[in-house]
């Protein structure tokens, strides 16, 4: 049997609104994934270190403060520096369309805007992790 997909749900920046992050974390767990939730106020460095230590295949970033353009590129840079580009990064929150496109060009796998269904997010993660054959399982 395939081991469960491992996901880090992270809440970067100063914002404390964690309703979305918690709902997503639960939905992914109910879908059979192993979910690690970082808690609040994580810097990009803390998030990437946690992703490395927890050996996750997916990082989910929840950002509602409008600070996505400052935070996400930094996470992507750190993943490249640490040779972790096989980790899929998905972003959820209030990210306007133009910004979402720009983030995708920087390597973000998907941006889920408000109103996205839990099912769509679960499906996306399943497909994108399967299609790359998973991350160094061991």
């Amino acid at each position: 049997m395939q081991p469960p997909i491992r996901v880090l749900v992270a809440k970067p920046g100063l914002d404390g609104h964690d309703r979305g992050a918690k709902v997503i974390a639960r939905a992914l767990r109910d879908a059979g994934m192993e979910v690690i939730y970082t808690g609040l106020r994580q810097t990009p460095e803390m998030i990437v270190n946690a992703a490395l230590q927890e050996d996750v295949q997916v990082i989910g970033l929840s950002i509602l403060s409008g600070a996505h353009n400052a935070i996400v590129p930094r996470v992507m840079d750190l993943l490249r520096e640490k040779d972790m580009t096989d980790v899929k990064v998905i972003v959820g929150g209030t990210v306007p369309g133009e910004d979402a496109e720009a983030l995708k060009q920087q390597g973000v796998a998907a941006v889920f805007q408000p109103g996205a269904s839990l099912e769509a997010i679960v499906d996306f993660i399943r497909k994108s992790v399967v299609s790359t054959g998973g991350h160094n399982q061991g």
Partner: protein
């Protein structure tokens, strides 16, 4: 089955409370209009805190606002006042809410994004330039560092020559709901409660027209709670603040009249109206019976309402105008004292001037065209509304008992109890949306292509400009005086006396918000919650 057929099978409120097919006298057995309702303006104030309600005076139309820089926010305030808004409400950015200056490393990317950046008295002076603080009431949504921002506000009032006794307004200053829901905390619960108690005591002595706290259910609801949880946790927080103030040695009627509340106005129309009515009744009984309050003003629950940000949809954003109008009507029929109506674009960003104008006009239409202001509590006596009000009261009282049994709200928070209750409710609601038991127009039903809307663009140079001003201030001020005032503040924090006079001294010396909060951090430590899913 079609979307609508699934939804119509289940008649529950948005909080999941089942609704009977019909409400008639049988549902109100034991209901006594004289005891449960009385008349508006009389105990237990179920029907409102004033005899004539809006016939005497309309609610205050107060749009929450702040962005980019103090200069730009000040321009927006002048615009809103010119449009007929009757009070101001300050939104601070995340660094300010968390007690960091605009030039702090953690402020990177966040300055001016969610509100106005206020790092020093100088910023506060700019924020209220040309606004007479003796005439306009100002509400400030600030919690963990509330005492500091309030001190800055009082210092600006001094500069304008307005006596503190004449200054009227509100600081949110409700730290308990931060641990429960919004999570913008800095210090651990007990030192935080000490700071709140300092402001309540200081207010009772020096600012008789200012509300030193706005005990808030809004954020609890936004975090996903039910209506009952919003009501119960908010009032139970209120009980906690009262107990701390009494333990400080204040008399109940010295400070209780200035406790104010803040509730959400969500989409389930009658459930919301019942919530406000039950809130007034429960608070009046609690203050009289649990705390022995005698002054009528102590018993009257005054509240601000804001329409539900979490109900706004990204899809088909113009529909948000309609949602907001329905929610605002519920708040008015529930007897609110002031109201913020959300703007149609707030699922995306802070509101544009055009969007905030429509939101304000929504209130003006309710006030001047709908006729709902002509008589107090027009729904009083409705079988349905009275039953809902009684059920809301009973369910909240049950939560009070459970939290009392845990040893109070701080103990309950430390156990993660309210946090868990809210997370469960929020997940249950999301599941109901996912399965289409609950329909959200434009999101899981009646989808169509979105019409693009014009959004407010926050000036990207705000951070740089604020940091530049701060650097100049740090060079210009009397740094010896700053150091002395911060040392005195640190010693006051280590002691047990009221810290407000020391905060005021530091603020007047132009010590920054970050410097003052750092002094508190050194003494109190910082708080980290245990993250639960």
């Amino acid at each position: 089955m079609s979307d609508m057929a699934v939804a119509e099978k289940l008649h529950t409120t948005i909080s999941g409370v089942p609704i009977e097919p019909l409400y008639a006298p049988e549902q109100l057995s034991g209901f006594d209009p004289r005891r449960d309702l009385a008349v508006p303006g009389e105990f237990p104030y179920t029907r409102g805190i004033h005899q004539s309600m809006y016939r005497g005076r309309l609610w205050t139309m107060r749009q929450f606002s702040g962005f980019a820089t103090p200069e730009e926010t000040n321009r927006r305030y002048h615009y809103l006042l010119a449009q007929g808004q009757t009070g101001l409400s300050v939104a601070f950015d995340l660094p300010t809410l968390m007690g960091y200056d605009a030039d702090h490393a953690l402020s990177e990317g966040e300055v001016g994004k969610c509100g106005a950046p206020i790092s020093s008295l100088e910023d506060m002076e700019i924020l209220f330039r040309g606004i007479p603080l003796g005439d306009v009431t100002v509400s400030m949504t600030i919690n963990s560092p509330a005492a500091v921002l309030w001190a800055m506000y009082l210092a600006v009032a001094e500069q304008q020559g307005v006596a503190w006794k004449a200054v009227s307004g509100t600081i949110q200053n409700d730290i308990l709901k931060e641990y429960i829901a919004q999570k913008e905390y800095i210090f651990p619960p007990r030192p935080s409660m000490r700071l709140v108690t300092d402001t309540i005591e200081f207010g009772a002595r020096h600012t008789p027209r200012f509300n030193p706290i706005s005990i808030s259910g809004y954020h609890i609801r936004e975090a996903g709670s039910t209506a009952v949880q919003e009501l119960a946790f908010t009032l139970r927080d209120g009980i906690e603040y009262v107990e701390w103030a009494l333990a400080r040695g204040l008399e109940i009627d010295e400070f209780a009249p200035r406790l104010s509340f803040f509730f959400n106005a969500h989409s389930d129309f009658f459930e919301e109206i019942a919530k406000y009515r039950a809130a007034r009744k429960l608070w009046a009984h609690t203050l009289r019976e649990r705390f022995g309050a005698r002054d009528e003003r102590s018993l009257k629950l005054r509240f601000h309402a804001q329409t539900a940000g979490c109900s706004l949809t990204w899809q088909q954003p113009y529909n948000n105008v309609v949602r907001t109008a329905v929610q605002a009507l519920a708040a008015v029929l529930g007897g609110t004292q002031s109201l913020h109506t959300n703007s149609l674009d707030e699922a995306y960003a802070l509101p544009s001037e055009q969007a905030v104008t429509i939101a304000l006009r929504t209130q003006q239409i309710l006030a001047h065209e709908s006729g709902v202001v002509n008589t107090p509590d027009p729904l009083g006596g409705s079988y349905f509304v009275e039953r809902l009000t009684l059920d809301m009261e009973l369910a909240a009282a049950d939560y009070f008992r459970r939290i009392d049994d845990m040893g109070g709200m701080i103990a309950a928070i430390e156990k993660g109890f309210p946090q868990r209750e809210i997370a469960n409710a929020s997940y249950a609601y999301q599941r109901a949306v996912e399965s289409k038991e609950k329909l959200v127009v434009g999101v899981n039903a009646f989808q169509s292509e979105d019409q693009p809307i014009e959004l407010l663009q926050i000036d990207q140079t705000a951070q740089e400009r604020q940091a530049g001003k701060l650097a100049a201030l740090r060079a210009r001020r009397d740094n010896n005086l700053v150091r002395k005032s911060l040392d005195a503040l640190r010693r006051a924090a280590e002691g047990t006396g009221n810290t407000m006079p020391f905060i005021l001294d530091a603020v007047r010396a132009y010590a920054t918000l970050g410097e003052i909060c750092d002094a508190f951090r050194e003494v109190f430590g910082s708080y980290q919650e245990t993250a639960h899913i």
